[in-house]
């Protein structure tokens, strides 16, 4: 039964992808892209990847769409029809599809427990996590401890994107914006119903974000998801009350401090491991009991990740929204 559902979803995914490419209205394309991300998230969930599904839904469907819309408001909504040269790319693309599909016949079939990918490294994680780290969510354990260095890198990717957007958009706009947009930026301020409902929702979104942050060791969730969820909560607040109110609540300097502070927190936990006699990012030396040390380290770095992601996404949002 679930397979029929999965096939249906995947087919829908391809159709959505085609629609995104074909439509000439960019607004429609961005909305379809959000649907595409949601479909993708559902697929991930069917394939047992709860953490990834949560992230894709929060980041892919939520934050990315908001950023796209922010950029659309500053650029154009309509795409010019293409004039020439669509056959060569189509030919290249078709050949590549055929090659990839051909190669798929040698791959181990889906779900085969005997596939090499499930034989070598992964079983070790599944077996040893209980002993070394003792948290139920193995994805979090791998993310934060076994491959914590990757995650450090990832935090700095977000950091790089954030400073990049701020750097690029710190140039004052070349031409003065039309006065029409000033009405837009206050968003839904004059609409009673969305405002009331929105105000009701915002605290619960924060609560859910914190739950995802601190429940990450036990269930799906963690720093990225929590950071993205809390950021969307604040973005909702900004849409309801206007850009200025959100900036008033959390000024840009605080956002900057969050971005830098979260990244530094992560790095400092790693350096602390080094100073206390372990290797970089070795959390077991943080406490006399290595298992508790690992757990402490994971909670700390997840907090660092959450703070940085939240601060970075909000900084990026404000950088786009301000230019309106």
């Amino acid at each position: 039964m679930i397979i029929v559902f999965a096939v249906f979803l995947l087919t829908l995914l391809v159709l959505t992808a085609v629609a995104v490419v074909r439509t000439e209205n960019l607004f429609v394309a961005v909305m379809l892209m959000a649907i595409f991300s949601l479909l993708m998230a559902t697929n991930f969930f069917i394939l047992d990847a709860a953490d990834v599904a949560l992230t894709e839904a929060a980041v892919g469907a939520g934050v990315t769409t908001v950023i796209f819309l922010g950029a659309l408001a500053l650029t154009a909504e309509q795409e010019k029809p293409i004039v020439s040269g669509r056959w060569l790319p189509l030919a290249v693309v078709s050949v590549t599809v055929l090659v990839i599909i051909y190669a798929s016949f040698d791959q181990p079939r889906l779900g085969d427990p005997g596939a090499p990918a499930h034989q070598h490294v992964a079983p070790w994680y599944l077996e040893k996590t209980a002993e070394f780290i003792d948290i139920p969510n193995i994805v979090t354990a791998v993310l934060a401890s076994y491959r914590g260095y990757d995650t450090l890198g990832e935090v700095f990717v977000v950091f790089a994107a954030c400073i990049g957007v701020l750097f690029l958009l710190s140039v004052p706009p070349v031409k003065p914006q039309k006065s029409k947009s000033s009405d837009n930026s206050s968003g839904l301020r004059h609409h009673l119903i969305p405002q009331v409902v929105g105000r009701l929702l915002v605290p619960f979104i924060f609560l859910f974000g914190l739950y995802v942050q601190f429940h990450g060791e036990y269930g799906p969730g963690g720093g990225f998801q929590a950071g993205a969820i809390i950021a969307t909560g604040i973005i909702l607040y900004a849409l309801l009350e206007g850009e200025a109110a959100a900036l008033n609540a959390i000024p840009k300097s605080v956002l900057m401090a969050m971005v830098c502070g979260g990244a530094m927190l992560y790095g400092m936990v790693g350096v602390a491991g080094m100073i206390l006699g372990g290797n970089f990012l070795d959390y077991s030396v943080l406490h006399s009991d290595p298992v508790i040390g690992q757990q402490m380290g994971i909670i700390l770095i997840e907090a660092g990740v959450g703070i940085t992601v939240c601060g970075a996404l909000l900084s990026i949002f404000h950088a786009f929204a301000e230019r309106d």
């Binding site: 839904l188 609409h191 119903i193 969305p194 409902v197 929105g198 009701l200 929702l201 619960f204």
Partner: protein, 106 residues
């Protein structure tokens, strides 16, 4: 057993509503009628489905989570519909009784 049957009835009903809503969104002549079709059935459908799933889950933590989801859906769905209609109205799309014109414009 009885709970199981009840739950399946609710789930099927909910699915039916959502399906009808989808058809409506496709077949209705203009923007406001389409939205109308989609939003009403969507709310009803989601209530029925969530209650159906709650029957399956029995008395557990999952039921409380489902209840929260239900409350969220009931709050956000109509609000989103309202915001959408309002935005459409503000951007100059007039509701029309004359369906023929609506068809040609949509």
């Amino acid at each position: 057993m009885l709970l199981d049957i009840l739950s399946w009835i609710l789930l099927c009903l909910g699915g039916g509503f959502v399906l009808v809503g989808g058809i409506g969104a496709l077949r209705m002549p203009n923007f406001y009628t389409r939205m109308h079709a989609a939003s009403l059935t969507d709310s009803t459908g989601s209530i029925l489905i969530v209650v159906g799933v709650m029957c399956q889950a029995g008395l557990s933590l999952a039921t409380i989570k489902l209840l929260t989801i239900l409350i969220f859906l009931l709050l956000t769905g109509p609000t989103a519909t309202y915001a959408l209609a309002n935005a459409a109205l503000l951007s100059g799309m007039k509701p029309q009784a004359d369906t023929d014109e609506g068809r040609s414009s949509s």
